[in-house]
Amino acid sequence: MVTEHRIDIRGCQVAYQRGGKGEPLLLLHGMDGRASWDSVLSRLTEHHDVILPDHPGFGASGSGEWIDDMADLALFYLDFLDALQIEQCHLAGHCLGGWLAAEVSVMQPQRFKSLSLCAAAGIRVDGCPMGDAFLWNPDDTIGQLIVDPQARETMRAKQSSERDIELMLKARQMSARLAWHPRFHNPHLRKWLHRLTMPTMIQWGESDRLFPVAYAHGYHAMIPHAQLHLYRDCGHFPMLEATDRYLEHLNAFTAKASA
């Protein structure tokens, strides 16, 4: 049973969902916000006590106008874990949230039993440009991020309410604040990835056109002990387009890391 919560962290209201049985898993969403986790959340709660917050500036959380960059946001999440009195947990992040997960775990590696990076921003692979998500229109975005033609059509046919548009614009604005320049990465992060000594897993869609699969290999080269799972016929959202394999790998990985 997943329930909605709110907590004040240094003047910023954080809205989050929490529920499930097992060890706590902090799940950090990507630039599109919490929505892409909706359909898999209940399955994740079968094996984890899932904590899924809206980042400051996203969804139902406060604007966090003093949060200027990813280092601020990473430290903010350490405060968030302190406030929830979670001393140790598993950590998983997707896209922008994958970058955030890497930053947080570099800061306090002993706090995380495992780290899973899915289609994660955070590094740049020279000679292999990322997609320019800020230049894609809504229609392009679906085409670039989703592989399955039927899933694309379903998403395109979906009517956006005024509230949906507002959430989308908020998400884009906060993503831009954090990731416009340097684009979706921290040039210094790679210097510190050796601190990720916890069990680490990299999950990636082979057809991701925002962070091409070379970025999965880039992370893998910098975190050699990590497991690497690539999904065929899958774009930027493995939890949507390769749901079973994504969950199977994540569940087995966190179970082993807990043992």
Partner: protein, 387 residues
Amino acid sequence: MKFYSFHLMPYGALDLDYVEKHVSASLVLPNTYYDPQIGHQLYNRYLDELELADELGFDGVCVNEHHQSAYGLMPTPAVMAGALSRSVKRGKICILGRALPLLSNPLSVAEEYAMLDNITGGRFIAGFVRGIGVEYHATGVNPTYSLERFHEAHDLIIRAWTEEGPFPFEGKHYSYNYVNLWPRPFQQPHPDVWIPSGGSLETIRWASDPKRKYVYLNVYSNVDVACGLMDTYRNCAEAYGYTASSEQLGMALPIYVAETDAIARREAKPHIEAFFNKFLRMTNEMLLPPGYTSVSSLKTLLITSRETLMANHSLEAVDKLGMFLVGSPETVRERLAEFEQRLGIGHLCAIMQFGSLPHAQTKRNLELFAEEVMPHFRAKVTAGSCA
């Protein structure tokens, strides 16, 4: 009313069929479309046109800044202003303006403007803008900090012009141990400041503040919208406790005058339509990057005017909307008198060359406007208001 000849210096030889392959004449249009041989001719031709405007009695000439675009070829407008500073003998030279947030060292604007002000002996007008949305894609500068950077850079420049140096400047985006401007500006306390803008309430309120009283220059709004924005400025001024004069308000728009209405419309049609539909063509994502505009105004734009952002403008439509003045001298005089009366503006920045308009037509446009239109508006300062 005062008249200025405003040149965008577009790549007039642009192959307009580019639209079959590319979504915009900015950012993504390959620069192989640019021929330096033609560019050499165009730059010199455009400078000639501004020098002619000065000889014809315009009160000033204006240039501005755009990046990575066929729409305007002045990434560094001070190069043009510098070239004009020795040949324009009577009128003012206006840079409308430099895009402050795009700069990592905005003190360079204080320096370059002060140089121009010194060379011209105070015939310089200083424009400050945020830059258009697409330029945040072109420069990598984060659009969510656009407004913060604009205000901070502005404060730095004004302080550099008016305070004794050296002094330190400690900002969030810009900081200096030493601000000590050589040369100081010629005009005291500093050159007149103009704020060209589409016109958000925040910008207008800021510009009209009695500490500033900057000239608000509306760009490319239709006349009804512009009218509302001029009222906004006057209302802000009243709320501050003073009455804004027409000298604080201006409008920039393309104008074309020929012997008769029919000739003017026939000659202008392909060029003004190219200007609005090909040179200015842009996607929403280029025009409005995240954070450049607030979420609430962006939402309103997306919900209410998704189609009009990229509308196809005909000459007839832009004429009707008052985004373009076209016709015989008599027609343009009448229309302009109506504008002056409704808008209560004291400055008109006339874009006499637009898009692909060739030199011969631009020259005659300048001559007819200067001889047949401008004299009718001289020595009148309106304190008008929008009816």
